[in-house]
Subunit: 336 residues, 2 copies
């Protein structure tokens, strides 16, 4: 029971995940997940999170003994943009919530101190604390999903920047006059390599006449092509899906090379569904980074998939609470 | 005499600059400069640096009183790549020196402890310590010259990365299939916006038939066009030179926007000769950053020219010695 547990909360556009993470580190216990259905509003999601957390707390205390006092706090991860100091969701396109004081609502509901950080920072911190980057000094995380996010960890601390928005690696320009991105910019990494944009590029090719099993997989309804369909076609040996993945890897490679040359990290951990493509992605990605970045920096850097595909967010959210509050490494306010 | 002085040494491809910087901060005293003439070899340059330093020490002690003990060390800045831990110049294209233990040679010659860091880190640290970025938590420096370098300062410390090569902002890709860069990569910031590449782009335009006063300025010997010539044409109101500077600003803006979105710094300080173009450069550069980066991060970030055009390198090299050795903020070895 050394040190108790922290409730880890991972709020995603698709799922809410809650679990109890040992303060000393380790796999989350009593993990629970349900659909977010953000259109129900933030209050409904917070009520679900509270119920899931109370259930998980009961389950863990019943199994391991101990009292409510052994639950020391809550770490929350949520898509941004967030006001980290105030603990507020400013405006989250994936959730549709605005100006919602999520940290303090959850803190009050559970009567526990709480921290809030963005989802990509939490996933990155989880991989640094308990996953692919354990014990390294400098780590950068890249989260590939509906969007592309990122987190920067230097000397074991999350770099948040002066207004809390550091790590927006998905919105770095890698092609000056390239594809329009949802953020309004042109040529962002995300405009090519997020799930929906991998699908969009694949669709464009099929529409332009490339032979591919993709059309069959979606029964010629090309709008149904997703990054998962591209992966399925790849597994079936489809030449065109292979080409799309190769292009994705090269584009990601340019973005990752920029991180390598800017921050010279020890590990870059890439998380998200697309990493299921395994060596189809990581082989050409690493080759592109070698081609683009400085040799000494490339040789010093491991580029690896995450080790905690389901739980990095929950573990990292709890880990940030431990680091910020229990280890007192930050002066940021904590809701309660 | 509070705290004494540190010898600051700025080794450039063109000039060697040496001065005495007060440990408490302030303008360098007894500043000396001479041509590097690197082809004479590193030993000759080190001998010059020793002589310049001894002269400067004598001048300062004669004027201010005090003894040799008031000179507490040497901070050296040098173009890379360097082995920072060993204090060695690995291979510097601009100097032609390889595997030269510059830190310990200078330390032994002057019988003082010494630190070595790369020139861009020193210039950035100088601007943070005594120049345009005084007192801010997070600052990124971009040095525009024969090449483009950079330095990253978080919480008052230089971020060096795991193998000492962080901050290579000039070699981040902003145009996936763009111009070939001297580093071997394609589409690096440096391939467009370094002095020689600004000149090259201007030359290409004139060769392609653009009307410009540039041809006259170099008496039709287009090989003689430099970034300075472009600046002179700009001052004369030349439309085409204005266009070249605008394009430079837009390209730099993409690179600076990438820094803003990745690190969300409080200040980005841009140093080097090109900044003489003033608002011709900074106006469109800031506009491009606004167009490309996240609003909250842009609003939190000042993009400014350096305040120490002649002395940032000397001040920063000395400041890094103060920070690393006197304040004991690093475990890196110190030559002596």
């Amino acid at each position: 029971m050394s040190g108790g547990w922290v409730v880890g909360v991972d709020i995603g556009g698709t799922n809410l995940v809650v679990g109890l993470v040992p303060v000393a580190g380790g796999d989350p216990l009593a993990l629970r997940s349900r659909a977010t259905e953000p259109e129900r509003g933030a209050d409904a999601a917070v009520a679900d999170i509270e119920r899931m957390a109370e259930d998980a707390i009961k389950e863990v205390l019943d199994a391991h003994g101990g009292s409510r006092d052994d639950i020391v706090g809550v770490g929350i991860g949520c898509p941004g943009p967030l006001d980290l100091d105030a603990g507020v969701v400013i405006a989250t396109p994936n959730l549709g919530w605005t100006d919602y004081p999520i940290r303090d609502r959850i803190a009050h509901g559970l009567d526990l101190p709480a921290t809030l950080d963005n989802d990509a920072n939490c996933a990155t911190y989880g991989e640094w604390w308990q996953g692919a980057g354990r014990g390294v000094s400098t780590l950068v995380g890249v989260t590939l999903g509906t969007g592309i996010g990122g987190g920067v960890i230097l000397d074991g601390r999350v770099v948040r920047g002066v207004s809390g928005s550091a790590g927006e690696i998905g919105h770095t320009t890698i092609d000056l006059n390239g594809r329009r991105c949802a953020c309004g910019n042109y040529g962002c990494l995300e405009a090519y390599a997020s799930g929906p944009n991998i699908a969009a590029r694949a669709r464009e090719g099929v529409e332009a006449g490339y032979e591919s099993v993709l059309s069959e997989l979606v029964e010629n309804d090309l709008e149904r092509i997703t990054a998962v369909t591209v992966y399925e076609a790849l597994v079936l040996g489809d030449e065109y899906a292979h080409e799309v993945m190769l292009e994705t890897a090269k584009i990601l490679g340019a973005g990752v090379a920029n991180i390598v040359n800017t921050l010279n990290p020890e590990v870059i951990v890439i998380v998200g569904g697309v990493t299921r493509a395994g060596d189809h992605l990581f082989g050409p990605l690493r080759a592109e980074v070698r081609r683009r970045a400085f040799k000494s920096a490339v040789e010093a850097c491991q580029i690896v998939p995450g080790e905690l595909p389901e739980t990095a967010g929950v573990i990292g959210a709890a880990g940030i609470f431990v680091s910020e509050v229990l280890d007192g490494r930050s002066e940021r306010e904590v809701g309660a």
